[in-house]
Amino acid sequence: MNDITREIRSAVAGLFEEKRIDRFIGHEKGSVPPRSRPAFLSRAEDAERLVWDGFCSNNLAVYLPEIYRRQGPKKGNEPPLPRTGLLLKGCDMRSLIALAKERQVPRENVVVVGVPCAGMVSLRKLSAAVGGEEILDAMEEGDGLRVTAGVRTVTVRREDVLEDSCLSCRHPVPEGADVTIKAKARPAGDGGDAVVAAFAALARTERWAAFRVEMSRCIRCYACRQACPTCYCKVCFAEDNNPGWLGGGSEVTDAMLFHLIRIYHQAGRCVECDACVRACPMGIDLRTFTRKMAADVRQMFGFTPGFDIKEKPPLCTFREDDGQAFITDPDAKERSS
């Protein structure tokens, strides 16, 4: 058990004993090696279940909107809201801030145990690194991973199997945590700008073909939406039947429309945690498009979500000098293309 896990367990046990939280959501080892998964704790002694390793990739902020969803109009005699403890990495923390900014979650009711993040392992990359052999166990040692796959044991460099989102993560440290665990965060990356630039460099027809092929694999299971902390509408536009924007089943233009509009709804709110990418059972490349939206919001409006609860969300405000080169001007003299 690494030091980080030990420190987390004592911190969480302390929070329970000091009655600062009613429940704690962290990570525990899963049932399919090497996965870890969300763990819901209600007592100090449950803290023994907590672990911290390279597989704690679930964004736990996703559970908060449901916990703090008000059941009806305020009547004044509501019971006190529960106090929830959360084990958060950098991106998860930004999701919490985004939710608090949108008044879905009262920040003062949440006690955050923050872990500066060294990056999470991608199960798909790890499986590829061992030739698709079934992984029976994976132990982290320094900056390597000793993986037991089938009958072989292989050592893999951690950096080679990290999630793309972690390799390019700009803010691995959870700023604003109530308790911060001693852990070494990884160096900041480029925020995925490279991925966006690479895709943008392709010819238009190639981009469209790639976009359409990726979307044709979507089975509309909505795992991407359900895994996203800032996707919490009671009834999603995709499921409404009056008006019925989308048809049933997995027709490709419905999938394109769904993902374009869902990603659009995350403009200025997506913290680039890639929970949607990891949740997708079909391994669809959503990342290229979520990064594009995040990059546009950064470049056009100078806004990065998940830091300042007070700052106005980009689409709720404007600036006089917002760019409008894209606006068609019929009287413009020179022909652009």
């Binding site: 969300p38 694999r217 795992a223 049933g248 027709e251």
Partner: protein, 351 residues
């Protein structure tokens, strides 16, 4: 039961031959996953057989999609009159189906066949037409994976339920084909020229491989699951087991036996349209929501309980079989690693 040997290297030839009279589907690569795709015959690329991928323990989506497609037109209409009814009768061969998926078809045959209990007889013409025109060639599991538990729910890595021909990869690289049904027998007879008779050594190999595979499947405590599930219906164990569920539909869409569907109309705007059947999931809140707003299963915990109860308690009573095939797909795809094996084992235990 007639056995035949397809010698090493002739598989692509066999798939191509079948393509002359049917659309042949088999596991192929699709992005990051292996799914069923057309490899020969109508709908397949000319070199489709080369895209065959048999290495994976199982396809990400089950064979159910070939007989119960995710989106299927029931009939088309113009203004107020039904115009034409979809008649899916094109002959089809599903190759490389794992025995758990094949066994799932025996359950779906019951669901879509004549109604089970109760006096009213209804049959689903679309599913039954596809099944009638379909031939299943299953591929035994020489190397079951850790999430497989078919032996705990009445299945077997070399089970023959629901298949027409069982294929086994032998150590010498050849395929032993065993006809299970007349349809399977007819298929082997039609392509007899490609086959040779199996040697007794090859038949012994198959027996050894089958026994080794059976031993490799990890058991799951699913014994008397129905009694334990019924007793635990109101217990708090459900809260503890399902609080991390995100409420997506991935587990039900990859499941070989989940058959719930929605019916909706889509119009092209000029009065023409189609009445569609499409997959739906009991995990979605709108699945049971009344127009009045009342919802018999408003909480995710209740919906996850419905999924497990349906497979381990309800269908044993209504269809005479547990409708979980132990394929482990829902365990593999769950974004938060909810594990049906753990849930079933925990039913009846103190939370």
């Amino acid at each position: 039961m007639k056995e035949a040997i397809l010698s090493k290297g002739r598989l692509e030839e066999f798939l191509g031959a079948m393509g002359n009279t049917a659309a042949v589907y088999a596991p192929v690569e699709s992005g990051q996953n292996i799914v069923f795709g057309a490899v020969s015959g109508p709908g397949a690329a000319s070199d489709g057989v080369r895209s065959l991928r048999l290495g994976a323990s199982n396809t990400r989506l089950s064979v159910k999609g070939l007989f119960f497609p995710q989106r299927e037109p029931l009939f088309s209409f113009r203004d107020d009159a039904v115009k034409a009814v979809a008649e899916p009768k094109a002959p089809l061969v599903a190759f490389g189906v794992r025995p758990c998926d094949a066994m799932a078809l025996t359950f779906l045959d019951k669901v879509f066949g004549p109604a089970r209990v109760g006096s009213l007889k209804h049959e689903d013409p679309y599913y039954l037409a596809r099944r009638g025109a379909g031939t299943v060639i299953s591929l035994g599991c020489n190397k079951p994976c850790s999430t497989c538990f078919c032996t705990s729910v009445g299945g077997h890595p070399f089970g023959i339920a629901g298949t027409d021909v069982l294929a086994t990869e032998l150590p010498d690289g050849s395929l032993l084909l065993e006809a299970v049904t007349e349809k399977g027998q007819a298929l082997l007879d039609r392509h007899a020229g490609l086959f040779s008779a199996p040697s007794s050594a090859q038949l012994d190999d198959k027996g050894r491989i089958s026994r080794a595979a059976e031993a490799a499947v990890r058991p799951v405590h699913a014994a008397d699951a129905k009694a334990r599930a019924d007793a635990a219906f109101d217990s708090a164990v459900w809260e503890a087991l399902t609080s991390s569920c995100l409420g997506c539909g991935a587990c039900t869409f990859v499941c070989p036996t989940c058959h719930c569907f929605d019916i909706s109309d889509e119009t092209g705007g000029n009065g023409e349209g189609v009445r569609l059947r499409s997959w739906d999931s009991c995990q979605y809140p709108l699945f049971t929501a009344h127009a009045s707003g009342h919802n018999p299963r408003p909480a995710r915990r209740q919906r996850m309980r419905q999924r497990v109860m349906h497979k381990f308690s309800y269908t044993p009573e209504t269809a005479g079989m547990v409708s979980c095939m132990g394929c482990g797909r829902c365990v593999a795809v769950c974004p938060v690693n909810l594990d049906i094996r753990e849930i079933v084992a925990a039913l009846g235990a103190k939370p």
